[in-house]
């Protein structure tokens, strides 16, 4: 079990710590609902140092990124971030990731902690064109400072303007006196803010400065439990729950990051294009409960007659919305917005309806 550079701070805050993706991580501090609300209303800090970072460099960098990812990285300008996935050769997804374009010959891929080893092996195997790959996962720490007040608070720690940055962009800047910090306006919560990447050696200094800068706004540390409820309210996929090695990007509603353009060839392009043209048998949908009850991962989804039509992949009470929501795969015939479906909660079939995501809409 690995620690992050921030483990001692989590323990000092009294976090409930549990193993997650090979790391000893804070699940919650004061309570999942209070932490969730903190991010929606002000700002909170997540230690996401367990995430993996791969550098792709050299003249073949773009060619490599275009081959392994589904989105079109050729449209990226320096300082732009793109959500993407690694399709596998059999119709599934190796992982979902963020692609950062530093310059024409330098890209940063940020992948899920649980998949670092699998992703690295996959990238190395696919690197037939000879891009320079480097796995920096053990050297980089990352904090996600999320919430409507996050950028305002973090502006105090750098001379570079960050409060006017567009969503899904980044800057390399000096932060708390530390040079070359990657400051990105990305996140997994739907409440705005930033994700900050830096070397492990600078972790103490940056953690302390972030909490000091945020103190006047009520900054708090946030655990992975609230990270999950925040992302679910946005309908963001969680790898391992909503997408996996056997779910295709087309089934998962990720057509918007799967670009079938002439200038881009990528792994499994032909098969996925066929799916897009001919349709898929099941689709990932968002639903909200009508009957009282809470859907959970792996609960069955059935029709009015009780026939199985799918399975819940994520579910929870949504703290901001105060209703029970979930995501899951259903047969395509039941995937239209407004469709009535039923969730098997223990021995009962509870009524739910398919809704558009995000569940939570920022005012």
């Amino acid at each position: 079990m690995k620690n992050t550079a921030f483990t001692k701070f989590h323990e000092a805050f009294g976090a409930k710590m549990l193993p997650f993706a090979g790391f000893y991580m804070p699940i919650q501090y004061e309570g999942v609902i209070a932490e969730h609300d903190t991010v929606r209303n002000s700002l909170g800090v997540f230690d996401v140092s367990h995430m993996g970072e791969f550098w792709v460099k050299g003249p073949k960098a773009l060619e490599f990124v275009q081959k392994v990812t589904s989105n079109d990285a050729s449209v990226l300008v320096d300082g732009k971030v793109q959500y993407s996935c690694f399709p596998n050769e059999t119709g599934g997804i190796v992982d979902d990731l963020l692609v950062y374009k530093i310059n024409d010959e330098t890209y940063l891929l940020v992948v899920n902690a649980a998949n670092i080893d699998k992703d690295w092996a996959w990238c190395v195997k696919q690197n037939t064109m000879g891009a320079n790959l480097y796995n920096a996962s053990d050297e980089i720490s990352q904090l996600a400072v999320q919430g409507p007040l996050a950028l305002k608070a973090m502006q105090k720690l750098t001379d570079t303007t960050v409060t006017d940055m567009e969503y899904y962009t980044f800057k390399k800047l000096t932060f708390v006196g530390v040079k070359d910090v990657i400051f990105a306006t990305t996140g997994y919560t739907g409440s705005g803010g930033c994700e900050i990447y830096f070397a492990n050696e600078d972790a103490d200094k940056i953690w302390n400065a972030v909490f000091e800068a945020g103190a006047e706004f009520g900054i708090k540390p946030i655990g992975l439990a609230a990270r999950d409820t925040l992302r679910l309210e946005m309908g963001y996929n969680l790898y391992g729950n909503d997408i996996c090695d056997t779910t295709s990007p087309i089934e998962a509603g990720l057509s918007w990051i799967t670009k079938f353009v002439d200038h881009k060839d990528f792994i499994n392009k032909e098969a996925l294009l066929k799916q897009k043209k001919e349709g898929v048998a099941s689709k990932l949908i968002g639903f909200e409960m009508i009957d009282k009850g809470i859907p959970r991962h792996e609960y069955e989804i059935v029709d009015a007659q009780g026939n199985k039509i799918g399975e819940v992949t994520s579910g929870s009470m949504a703290p901001t919305l105060k209703i029970a929501i979930g995501m899951g795969y259903v047969k395509t015939a039941f995937s239209a917005i407004g469709s009535e479906i039923f969730i098997k909660v223990r021995d009962k079939s509870l009524k739910a309806k398919v809704v558009k995501t995000p569940f939570y809409k920022v005012n």
């Binding site: 919650q28 309570g31 999942v32 609902i33 439990a225 999950d228 409820t229 009282k292 009850g293 809470i294 959970r296 929870s316 009470m317 703290p319 223990r346």
Partner: protein
């Protein structure tokens, strides 16, 4: 962590407070803390007579769900109606306002099989 002396406990983290041939049942401070924020408590067994260790309801926290089991056999007389609108009461006051059900004890001999506060403290390593 609070473990009151005057209550009896189960290994499944319920408590029992005996009052004559009736008793209140709830979940322990340890249980509510492990569950985290409780958002829904479902008890649909009012009026039924259940055996010791049968499930009498479920408790849904944000991240997890757990069954609640009868510490002793008995008839479910009442579900704490306050929990329908404010299930978080069980987080805040698990041994008081947050009690879950009131029962009529079927067989008082089963009471002797429950854990004392001291034994329960050992169990949870408090």
């Amino acid at each position: 962590m609070k473990i009151p002396e005057n209550l009896l406990y189960t290994k499944d983290h319920e408590w029992l407070k005996v009052e004559g041939n009736e008793a209140f049942i709830g979940v322990t401070d340890f249980a509510q803390s492990e569950l985290g924020d409780i958002v829904y408590i479902e008890v649909e067994t009012v009026g039924e007579t259940l055996d010791k260790e049968e499930s009498f309801g479920t408790i849904e926290a944000v991240k997890t769900v757990s069954d609640m089991f009868m510490p002793v056999g008995g008839e479910i007389l009442e579900f704490n109606s306050k929990l329908e609108s404010a299930p978080e009461t069980t987080n805040k006051d698990p041994y008081g306002e947050g009690w879950i059900v009131k029962i009529k004890i079927s067989n008082p001999d089963e009471i002797a099989e429950l854990l004392s506060a001291e034994k329960y403290t050992e169990l949870v390593g408090a």
